[in-house]
Symmetry: D2
Subunit: 145 residues, 4 copies
């Protein structure tokens, strides 16, 4: 991915971060996906007082794209206010991995700080060989257009 | 809420339903929230192959609004292809209830079929007395603007 | 349910509460289910640093019973250190409701304080008409023995 | 870990698998943890009709141990009826990783088939560098005894 597009995607993730609902942890996280159609959708963490409810920024960004009918992702950026880039949690890596099976694409993962430093990786490197919708033999054709 | 606005909110929920990612159940669900600023955000169910991941339409619609910096909800509409209106699940009622504590507003719940029949209720009637962010003494001021 | 049995079930829930893993909220919650075979299984809240992971006490108690091959519940007790009894969250009510469809039994819900005060209700009163495995037409026969 | 102990832990995971509540997928999964005190606790998948509720076998086994006041794990075994060993999902790897921070121990992961073939790995190899309770600066002392 071109430097310019990466910067734009990180900017979209920062937009998400600024909207985070994190009254429990006070640790806002933002994310943004780039779809195969070239659109960007932001997300943020949304915390519940209940263990097991609430959404991470990465899953929120993916859900945002899905709500617009987009299921195929090129890249996802994650941003926090920590000094060094933070990795997506295991649950989010699982989620990204499942959608990488929909698009049959090795999604790029961009981990950024809010002042623009970043690291890059790929879902198949960060969480290889995960069980997903193809392994469960689900019919994914209508989500691949 | 006026009939006209209800119809529009149900229409937005149907837009969400049409984008559902439901390869496991093949049971698409849509939802849409109306915010205190008068905006509408759609959501849909997004299924994972993993028990405990995946998102319901109602939570997806709320997360969609939060990603745009809106935390105060007047109403939420839910729609499926079933013949009679379906209630939000308990997890979604909990989620709606928590945000009703943010806005201190008794959120209206509109349960609709895809051909426009609907029932109305309120979160405080459907799930009264839930534990939420106020009970946990979380500081909600910046989410109340 | 007899007073004596209720007291015993609350005692089991307190045993669960004392084992809670709650480093985030420092608010331990305990629960215990009574099965149709007469056994009691305790549970507690287990918190994750990730929004959307972690388990409530009620679901943990049910999962504990399921791990022993028991799916049919007479009652569930919930206990916290709060001064007045706390209700199960909406997600847990949904979970209890689904298992009430397995057993076709209106599960009794006992909400207790750690010094033994309690209130009683029923799942069909607290969360009536929920979508569950019967509505999804799942085959539940092997879980009904 | 000695071959003999591994076999015993897989046996306990199979006991969990046989109790799985999986009416949606009909794909039972079992797991078992070995604690630092030498005890074994089984778990299984428990499916909900709701996206985002339900528990995986690995988290269920950990929760089972926690409900007994044990937070320090040496190893976890996972078993399914698939022909080749299946990896824990990303959400479960996250959960195991968080408890590996409690015990400060690189938990062994044993992936087995129901006829006893298995592969071994470690949490820090399968999901390195995850955000956990230590990164969130939570006080874990009472869970380390």
């Amino acid at each position: 991915m071109l430097e310019d597009k990466i910067k734009k995607l990180i900017g979209k993730a920062i937009e998400g971060m600024n909207n985070a609902y994190a009254p429990r942890s006070n640790f806002p996280v933002g994310a943004a996906v780039l779809t195969s159609k070239g659109n960007m959708y932001q997300g943020c963490n949304i915390e519940s007082v209940i263990s097991g409810l609430g959404t991470c920024a990465e899953r929120s960004a993916i859900d945002h794209a899905v709500a617009h009918g987009e299921y195929n992702f090129e890249a996802i950026a994650i941003v926090t206010k920590a000094k060094t880039p933070v990795k997506p949690c295991g649950a989010c890596l699982q989620y990204i991995s499942e959608f990488s099976q929909v698009a049959q694409k090795d999604v790029e993962i961009i981990m950024a700080t809010s002042n623009g430093k970043y690291k890059k990786s790929r879902i198949n490197k960060m969480l290889p060989g995960m069980f997903g919708p193809r392994d469960a033999k689900l019919d994914l054709r209508k989500y691949q257009k």
